[in-house]
Symmetry: C2
């Protein structure tokens, strides 16, 4: 290959990607590796901003800080000021970190900025964050190892109950396409503000399942990740509303329509894929709003799922819920219990703002003699917990 | 639903997404719609940055500007200064725009920043840009319409030639799963710096195919989008190199290994999917480096593809190309020509830095009496051209 060809191809790369203006280019911008993970699992962050007055790192690797939300003061990711050198390079090196997947971004003079030197970004709802993993422990489950991989598909299904075609994500375990076997299925539901992409990004569902199945800790299973916002046909960037700002907030997602239309998803999945029949081959789990959906779906179809997982579920008193799905809750729960199921799993973080609501819900289950397994973790309403819950829940299935 | 529940769920949303610090929250941050597309197809961009000295919009909707790259001065996206109001809201309204997909970002005091109010971001290589479409013309092909949709899967295949499992993207046309029909296949290759995700993001391959097939302009076909960087098993965030900065630059992607290993992809695809056999049911096309790959693959396997598309191909004199794939080029081309094929399509923009190289290559084809179809478009080495080329090329297939 000629030098000229190489040069032109590098130029191609530069042109097909955004380029820095001349005055913004440090001496060797391509030499910046950020975040740079050291052998002792400390991490150095580097940001080139010679004209900035302050560059802060905001990340869940730092001690939590109180942040203002529209609904009060809450725990949020911590922040730290980077140090500037004479070349305009700002840096910060963390303490050694435990094995986890971490998120971060910068505040440059108060403006939120992703790391221009890291290609690793996850979208959740309307925001994009940089991510990295520290291996050697829990986060080994969150990486694409050199093992057999499942297939991840985005599929459209007809939802007669909603009246439109809708989009969902499906994980097929390694070996599915090369066999005639039938598989059990886990329905895995996202939280408010998320969509059918969420469990695949921050949730690492495909990597967790690949790793658990390859190591023999989980049975091979199909994982179906639908979109719980019935006002959307597809998540951000994949819907017929185009690239306009969509409406996705509750109550559009929590008015009973998703639960009532869930039968469309089960029918589609059992028609399209090779699914083992029977409730003993069906599991459902969800985080936050998806835990609310999971609780209601599993009781609204009370003889359908032998495995139910509520991850930091938005389970709250039902007095003002109106949809027909929300009537007769206690009666349905009793029917669900009497029908029998193999696992009703509840996970919640000690600092979760839904902790008390989950305690109250467990009290209700106790009053109904409804058996369940309870997992209390540290911290609050964060993806770290939901990834851990999935990695503990999946091995208990089927 | 109780007011409390709603509040808590909104909080869930806030917590599971990054939140603004109190001092950064404008009176009604959620009321910002940016970009805001008006009925006359002008667009208003809004950015909240009370402390900033300058906020610029950088976008391909503006007249191109010369930018400095490591390899010289080139055309890049244009830029314009936004106007600040007394509340710290910066705005700019464009002229009415033609139907297209546009990319943009901001420079806030010189630092590159995505739009915090737009969830629509595409990653290409290591960079993330906001996007939006203006409908009513060409960009109607780039949106998810309320029509039958194909399935998009990410699949791992064994590549014995490279010695690892590798990841690719596959588009299955609507109806594939519900029939026993066999389909023709288009192999669609990305450029330098891209990966198996690129044609699905900026390239809009799934939307273009959905729309062309639904309107009867293209035949239903399978589209296979492999990863052309043999030093990667999967693209950014999907490889066994984890979340470390990967090596992807040429010559790792242009040393002949990808072309030599392409047979692994064809074998896998024809085994896994219901493919019509024969060269008359195989097409291959690629952009930039992918055009280089396409030229070499179609000639290295000279009786395999009846349809070949070179989109702004990085076709350059071969004197210093070393891999065995690059020997006997003229001889192979003659064999390819003598074997016969139905379409050899070359598209290039008048301002492309590869324009002369493509002119020289066409001269070579002329000298060989190798028939081809030539399409010269405006502008340069940009996704706009590659989307247009795909939308013109696909209807000519099969």
């Amino acid at each position: 290959m000629t030098r000229k060809l190489l040069t032109l191809l590098c130029l191609t790369l530069s042109l097909s990607q955004p380029t820095l203006k001349a005055q913004e280019v440090p001496a060797e911008p391509e030499s910046i590796i950020s975040p740079n993970i050291h052998e002792n699992h400390s991490v150095t962050f580097t940001f080139f901003a010679p004209q900035a007055d302050t560059v802060k790192l905001v990340s869940d690797l730092l001690p939590p800080e109180k942040i203002m939300t529209r609904f009060g003061i809450q725990d949020g990711p911590g922040s730290v000021l980077l140090q500037k050198d004479q070349n305009g390079l700002w840096t910060y090196t963390s303490d050694p970190l435990e094995s986890e997947l971490y998120s971060f971004w910068y505040l440059v003079d108060g403006i939120r900025v992703p790391d221009p030197n890291s290609p690793y970004v996850f979208r959740n709802g309307s925001t994009v964050t940089n991510v990295f993993t520290i291996g050697g422990g829990q986060a080994d489950l969150y990486e694409d190892k050199n093992i057999a991989h499942g297939t991840v598909s985005r599929v459209w299904y007809d939802s007669p109950t909603v009246g439109i075609d809708r989009r969902l994500s499906v994980y097929l375990p390694a070996g599915y396409e090369d066999s005639r076997e039938e598989y059990p299925v886990l329905y895995l539901l996202h939280g408010a503000g998320g969509d059918e992409e969420s469990w695949l990004a921050h949730g690492r569902a495909a990597q967790i399942m690949d790793n658990l199945i390859a190591s023999g800790k989980s049975k091979p299973m199909i994982v179906v990740m639908p979109n719980g916002n019935v006002s959307q046909d597809g998540g951000y960037g994949y819907g017929s509303y185009g690239f306009q700002k969509p409406v996705f907030l509750p109550p559009h997602s929590m008015n009973g329509e998703f639960e009532a239309s869930f039968i469309d998803i089960v029918n589609f999945v059992e028609d399209r894929f090779r699914i083992k029949s029977g409730k003993e081959n069906r599991a459902i789990a969800g985080l936050s709003m998806g835990g609310f959906h999971t609780m209601h779906i599993s009781r609204y179809y009370p003889n359908t799922f032998d495995y139910v997982g509520l991850f930091s579920a938005a389970i709250l008193p039902r007095e003002d819920a109106t949809g027909k799905v929300y009537s007769d809750i206690d009666k349905n729960l009793k029917v669900q219990k009497d029908n029998g199921l193999k696992l009703y799993w509840i996970g919640i973080g000690k600092k979760d703002f839904l902790y008390e609501a989950n305690t109250a819900y467990r009290k209700k289950l106790d009053d109904l003699n409804f058996p369940y397994e309870y997992r209390e973790s540290g911290e609050g309403h964060i993806w770290k917990n939901w990834r851990i819950y999935l990695s503990e829940f999946a091995p208990k299935l089927f």
